[in-house]
């Protein structure tokens, strides 16, 4: 039986998320995990360039971003810097593969609020997001 977890803002409103990943599978998986916690996914970006454009278009109607680090062309660290430069209060959560936590240190120094690890475990992902959002 799937454990029900709901993540809501302190005022009871739904969080809005932008999901960024070059893998169609992971994009779908993260979207499903977030939606299972009643989080609204307002955008799916399959590459870094689209992610930067979508964040600017969605702003201020996006509460946080899940951002894959390893993407071809414009990678996650570049996207992070662009988003933080546009919105210094952005909440960006990096997504990276098991064992690559060291790369996350650079992301944290550039403003990322935390990270989640692949392979994705629904409960672990939601607990981590809940802690990062302070929900």
């Amino acid at each position: 039986m799937v454990e029900q977890i709901t993540i809501r803002k302190p005022d009871g409103g739904k969080y809005k998320a932008l999901v960024v990943d070059d893998s169609a599978f992971t994009l779908k998986q993260i979207t499903q995990i977030l939606m299972s916690a009643d989080i609204e996914v307002v955008g799916n970006a399959p590459n870094g360039e689209t992610a930067i454009r979508m964040y600017k278009e969605l702003y201020p109607n996006v509460d946080f971003v899940t951002l894959d680090i390893t993407m071809p062309d414009v990678d996650g660290l570049h996207v992070l810097k662009e988003i933080m430069s546009f919105d210094p209060n952005a909440k960006v959560i990096m997504v990276t593969a098991l064992g690559r936590e060291d790369i996350v240190k650079t992301a944290i120094m550039n403003g990322a609020k935390g990270f989640i690890l692949k392979p994705l475990d629904r409960l672990k992902v939601l607990e981590r997001i809940k802690a990062i959002l302070g929900a």
């Binding site: 070059d22 893998s23 169609a24 599978f25 992971t26 779908k28 998986q29 390893t70 071809p72 990276t96 593969a97 098991l98 064992g99 690559r100 060291d102 790369i103 692949k118 392979p119 629904r122």
Partner: protein, 154 residues
């Protein structure tokens, strides 16, 4: 090919597959070398590497093993190898090779990787001219996949 390059890929494969399959019952088969193109098992994921050595890592497995891995990582039973399933296989290869190059980085070797390419079907061979390929079989239950590591010093 330097022996220091091999173990990180084997360790990373075991760590990532154990996490995905939620089982610790994986074992390594006998290593062997390939010198020429050989028939494959039907599903291959290739990731290119550049750095102190260049070449590629290829994960080769039968369709049933691929479906088992996709089912395990997605949480849904998979019957066909559709585009989302192939994307999942690419992600698994990314996790393994990404994990391995982090281990290599900690040993002082900095590698970069290319996005994964997933190939399915039986009517093809993979040729890596002038690069010897080390094959590491990984066995779990009735399933087997092979890690093909072909790296040549730059």
């Amino acid at each position: 090919m330097r022996i220091e390059y091999i173990n990180p890929f084997v360790e990373a494969t075991f760590e990532v597959l154990s996490e995905i399959l939620k089982e610790g019952n994986l074992r390594r088969g006998e290593l062997f070398l390939k010198r020429s193109p050989t028939p494959n098992y039907g599903v291959s994921i290739i990731i290119g590497l550049t750095g102190p050595a260049s070449g590629r890592v290829l994960l080769d497995m039968p369709p049933n093993t691929a479906k088992k891995l996709i089912s395990a990582i997605s949480g849904d039973e998979v019957k066909d190898l559709n585009d989302i399933g192939k994307s999942a296989l690419g992600e698994i290869a990314n996790m393994i090779v990404g994990n391995a190059i982090t281990k290599l980085y900690k040993k002082g070797f900095t590698f970069a990787l290319t996005p994964p390419t997933v190939i399915t079907g039986n009517d093809y061979t993979i040729d890596t001219p002038q690069i010897e390929t080390l094959v590491v079989p990984v066995i779990f239950g009735e399933d087997k996949l092979e890690i093909n590591i072909a790296l040549k010093e730059a």
